[in-house]
């Protein structure tokens, strides 16, 4: 089993508060996952669960407190993380297309910047051709961006442009941080389809970060559910979403509103504690909201348990013979 990108025991601790009362918040805790070539892995979870922080660490924008990142089996050191060779292979798409581009610089500038910086060509005409080819993949052309400022383009256009820009240098991994949450529904599907198409055609791997389980279910191969910095369930998307094992995943499943007038939107959802409190919780972070919580959950951090193909981090599966839980 080949792994193109692997993350091992990634931890990021932020220290928050004033000078006198500092508290440490573990935004990402012991997160390990990998992605295979030509695969779409979804990182899902509610806002503030550490999805974006994980993405930023992978891209080298944030330094991890501990943990390693391997690219094609090779350890990516902190220094190399910032280098171009890594960026050449791992590209990013951000959530807000309006903020992805410098408002003072024309959009074509960043395209040329990418082409020249990664040494694709030195020739301007050739560069235009490369750019135009990639823009056509997302249904645009060079004419659409030539000399245009970001303020002159629509959000949907900008997001497609942003994806085309990331694909310019043919990366092997695309980290897409909520790429469709700011675009309208019709475009959402075409972007998600584009990811699937690229996966099948050129073998692109996508780390698809989202809180939208519907598109995740539709497009991804595997899914990792994050909660307060931990991956609490990870496995094939079919298995995880149709047969959720972790109580939190069940809760997430139930929170998806369905277009069925007969079915009321679930009433069982407990309003979240303050994020902060949950982050500081000992043991299982979800214990405060979990309908099945037992005494052990507040004391001990659950281990990563494999149930068939699925990894679950819950005391319920500590010992499959344990009758207490049933």
């Amino acid at each position: 089993m080949e792994k193109v990108l692997e993350v091992q025991n990634l931890t990021k601790v932020y220290s928050v508060g004033s000078l006198f009362s500092r508290t440490k918040i573990t935004a990402v805790e012991n997160v390990s996952f990998y992605i295979k070539p030509s695969e779409i892995l979804t990182l899902a979870g509610e806002s503030g669960c550490g999805k974006t922080t994980t993405a930023k660490i992978i891209l080298g924008f944030e330094e991890p407190t501990s943990g390693e990142i391997f690219f094609e089996g090779e350890l990516v050191s902190k220094k190399r993380l910032k280098k171009r060779e890594f960026m050449r292979k791992v590209q990013a798409v951000f959530q807000n297309p309006f903020e992805s581009f410098n408002p003072l610089i024309t959009v074509d500038d960043i395209f040329f910047e990418t082409v020249y910086n990664y040494g694709l060509t030195r020739d301007r005409d050739e560069a235009i051709k490369i750019i135009d080819d990639k823009l056509r993949v997302v249904g645009l052309s060079f004419e659409d961006i030539n000399g245009r400022y970001p303020s002159e383009l629509s959000g949907g256009q900008l997001q497609r442009i942003s994806i085309a820009r990331s694909l310019l240098i043919n990366p092997s991994v695309l980290v897409a941080d909520e790429p469709v949450s700011m675009v309208d529904a019709s475009l959402r599907m075409s972007i998600v389809n584009l990811f699937a198409e690229l996966k099948n055609k050129v073998g692109l791997s996508v780390i698809y970060i989202t809180h939208d389980l519907a598109t995740a279910y539709y497009v991804s191969d595997r899914i990792a559910i994050m909660f307060r910095g931990n991956i609490i369930e990870m496995g094939p998307v079919e298995e995880v979403l149709t047969n959720p094992r972790h109580p939190y995943t069940r809760l997430l499943r139930e929170s998806i509103p369905e277009a069925d007038p007969q079915r009321k939107w679930s009433q069982e959802i407990t309003i979240a504690d303050i994020e902060y409190e949950e982050y500081l919780r000992q043991g299982c972070k979800f214990a405060g909201r979990c309908p099945m919580a037992k005494e052990i959950c507040t004391r001990q951090v659950p281990a990563e348990i494999m149930v068939n193909d699925v990894m679950v981090k819950c005391h319920m599966y500590d010992d499959s013979k344990n009758e207490v839980w049933k």
Partner: protein, 334 residues
């Protein structure tokens, strides 16, 4: 053409209106004051023990009214005020009678403009660059600079000016104590005069620079710290843009926009001088004569300086409006 119609004309109209109302306020406010400058002047003569016959008094009053532009009804006075403004004649200064106000201002304005435009521009450039670089890189030794600025900034300006004056003019007499140019040196165009002017300007300029740099440095640093973690900076980094280009083209350039507005506003206030600097260093600028005029109730001179200051502020805002689209493409001439 659409530039003229949709961008220039609305702003020009706005500029003219604001200037008009500003100048009207300058005209009106002194007239609402409970002091009558003419009676004040006359009573001054009386306290000197000069005997003035009623006819002479009447005559004096009329002359003074004419000098002050206080003849007739308020409306007539308003007309006279505008006439004076357009002909650029504010009448004679009363504390320096019969020197015309124009000449008094003309004598001191170059000093103020020379000193303040240099320090304003220089401190802006230094603050933007230093604040930008410190805010972006946040290296250890840079934090030291930050702390230094944090200590300097709350020091009251006059205290710092006096400390510098005592240090560099008295303890180590490197620079002259006061004035704009050496005593008994006529303002002829020679190397020595220029050297003397520069030497006299260094201390006041230094104090203005320190103050100007420190607060602008802090605001620039704060803006940069926000801009540096904006998505487009990360995104440019994934495009392989190198660090130096990132700092100047992406971070400083974006963070500079509020600073440009700020510079434009500062430029307008150059024309009213800096009172404290000019007092501490006895620098012959506009601030100094304004202070003098207020103390001596020199009505015409106050009016003259106020009008220039109003026009300067509105004009610089207007010019700022015109050049701003060059810096920010979101504000387009459409």
């Amino acid at each position: 053409m659409s530039f003229v119609k949709r961008y220039l004309i609305p702003r020009l109209v706005q500029y003219i209106l604001v200037t008009f109302f500003g100048l009207t306020a300058v005209f009106l406010f002194p007239r609402f004051l409970p002091v009558d400058p003419i009676e004040q002047q006359l009573s001054q003569y009386q306290t000197f023990g000069v005997y003035v016959s009623p006819e002479q008094q009447e005559e004096m009053m009329n002359t003074l009214k004419q000098l002050y532009g206080l003849e007739g009804t308020l409306w007539e006075q308003f007309m006279v005020f505008w006439k004076r403004l357009f002909t650029g004649n504010f009448g004679p200064s009363l504390s320096r009678f019969p020197t015309p106000v124009n000449q008094v201002i003309r004598n001191s304005l170059p000093w103020t403009i020379g000193l303040l435009s240099t320090t304003t521009i220089l401190s802006w450039i230094i603050a933007v660059l230093a604040g930008g670089i410190v805010g972006y890189y946040r290296k250890r030794w840079m934090e030291a600079l930050d702390i230094l600025v944090m200590i300097i900034r709350p020091v009251p300006y006059y205290v710092m000016a006096l400390i510098l004056l005592i240090l560099f003019a008295y303890v180590f007499p490197i620079f002259p104590l006061s004035g704009g140019v050496g005593i008994a040196r006529g303002l002829t165009l020679s190397w020595q005069t220029i050297l003397s002017i520069i030497k006299h300007a260094i201390l006041p300029a230094l104090t203005l620079l320190i103050v100007g740099i420190s607060w602008q440095f802090q605001s620039m640093k704060l803006i940069v710290q926000i801009v540096r973690s904006e998505d487009h900076v990360w995104y440019s980094r994934t495009a392989g843009v190198d660090d130096r280009k990132l700092v100047f083209n992406h971070v400083i350039r974006n963070a500079m926009l509020p600073m440009i507005t700020q510079l434009g506003l500062q430029f307008g206030s150059i024309f009213s001088g800096t009172l404290i600097t000019e007092m501490v260093f006895a620098y012959p600028g506009v601030g100094w004569i304004l202070y003098d005029a207020v103390m001596k109730a020199d009505y015409n001179l106050i009016m003259g300086i106020m009008c220039i200051s109003v026009i300067a502020v509105t004009t610089s805002i207007f010019l700022l409006d015109l050049i701003y689209p060059f810096f920010d493409p979101r504000v387009r001439y459409r």
